[in-house]
């Protein structure tokens, strides 16, 4: 009984939004479509890819994408078709361009800036904690104390 249950549990895969009737017969094309749709944003839900989304528009876009691929579009052409309509926003991975440099490298710039500020601050603190050299009088007193003469 337990074994049967365990086997049944193994059968329970994650739920996919892609319906069987959407799939292409050609496994190569279907694979390309799946890979592409994971990179495309569902504009209705906005934080899911069209591969994961159950929104009807996501389904329409999955079907459209498969239609373009089946019609002979390259991956880039199929994606460009959607970008022309929905803008760069449909790309879950924003393109690297002059106007997106800040987006891509901003976090690293902040990290470097933070590290620089930290290094400078730590150096200053280290410099500040070195005590000033003893005066001649203090040195003489210290020497006496160390020799055990008493103050």
């Amino acid at each position: 009984m337990r074994r049967v249950l365990a086997l049944l549990l193994l059968l329970a895969g994650p739920a996919f939004a892609v319906q069987p009737d959407e799939r292409l017969a050609d496994p190569v094309l279907e694979g390309r479509a799946r890979a592409l749709s994971r990179e495309l944003r569902c504009v209705v839900c906005q934080n899911e890819s069209i591969d994961e989304s159950n929104a009807t528009l996501a389904r329409d876009l999955r079907l459209l994408l498969r239609e373009r691929l089946a019609g002979g579009d390259s991956d880039a052409a199929a994606v460009a078709f959607l970008v022309a309509r929905y803008g760069d926003f449909v790309l879950l991975r924003p393109p690297l361009r002059a106007d997106t440099w800040l987006l891509w490298f901003g976090p690293f710039a902040v990290l470097v800036l933070g590290a620089a500020v930290t290094v400078v601050a730590l150096r200053r603190r280290a410099a500040a904690t070195v005590p000033p050299p003893l005066s001649a009088e203090e040195q003489a007193r210290l020497d006496r104390l160390l020799r055990g003469d008493g103050a």
Partner: protein, 177 residues
């Protein structure tokens, strides 16, 4: 001078707080997408018409018009409908409708019930024309100029404020051109 450095965090905080307050008060919805087709030619379409005659982009060319995607099953469309009626009947706006993923008999019943503000209506059963426009929900409203370029997109139901502040001034401006 060194004292001013200690004020820096406070200034940064004030700048951030000001920015957040502005974002809260301005009423801008960050989920609202700008149209990728702004100031570009509107997609060509040729749809069966609800009235019998086909609706195509070519026959609409040459005049400023407002294109409204609606559906009988869409609740916000009902909210916006009285405003569309007012635009068509009182302001004389040339309003063209596209029924998005709606059965023609349902669209007809919807318009019979609420009134028909449209000069012409196209039937987009599979929603492909809507995808060409980059639509991601109904209702959506587009302003298209004489050259057939998209000049503005409104996502969601139009509000009286949007109509007064944005739509009507834009249409007046385009009519004068």
């Amino acid at each position: 001078m060194r004292r001013l450095v200690y004020l820096l965090p406070l200034l940064l905080f004030a700048a951030l707080a000001g920015y957040f307050a502005f974002a809260l008060i301005s009423g801008r919805d960050p989920r609202e997408l700008p149209s990728a087709l702004l100031d570009k030619p509107a997609p060509a379409f040729d749809l069966p018409g609800l009235g019998g005659e086909r609706l195509s982009a070519a026959t609409l060319r040459g005049e400023v018009f407002v294109l409204n995607f609606f559906a009988s099953w869409c609740a916000p469309c009902r909210v916006e409908h009285p405003l569309l009626l007012r635009l068509a009947r009182q302001e004389g706006v040339r309003l063209v409708g596209i029924a998005y993923k709606d059965r023609p008999e349902d669209s007809r019943r919807f318009l019979a019930e609420l009134g028909d503000p449209y000069r012409a209506i196209g039937i987009d059963r599979d929603g492909r024309v809507a995808i060409d426009f980059g639509l991601y929900g109904v209702p959506e409203t587009y302003v298209i100029d004489r050259q057939g370029h998209i000049r503005k997109r409104f996502v969601g139901p139009l509000s009286p404020g949007q109509v007064e502040r944005e739509l009507l001034p834009l249409l007046r401006g385009l009519a004068r051109l």
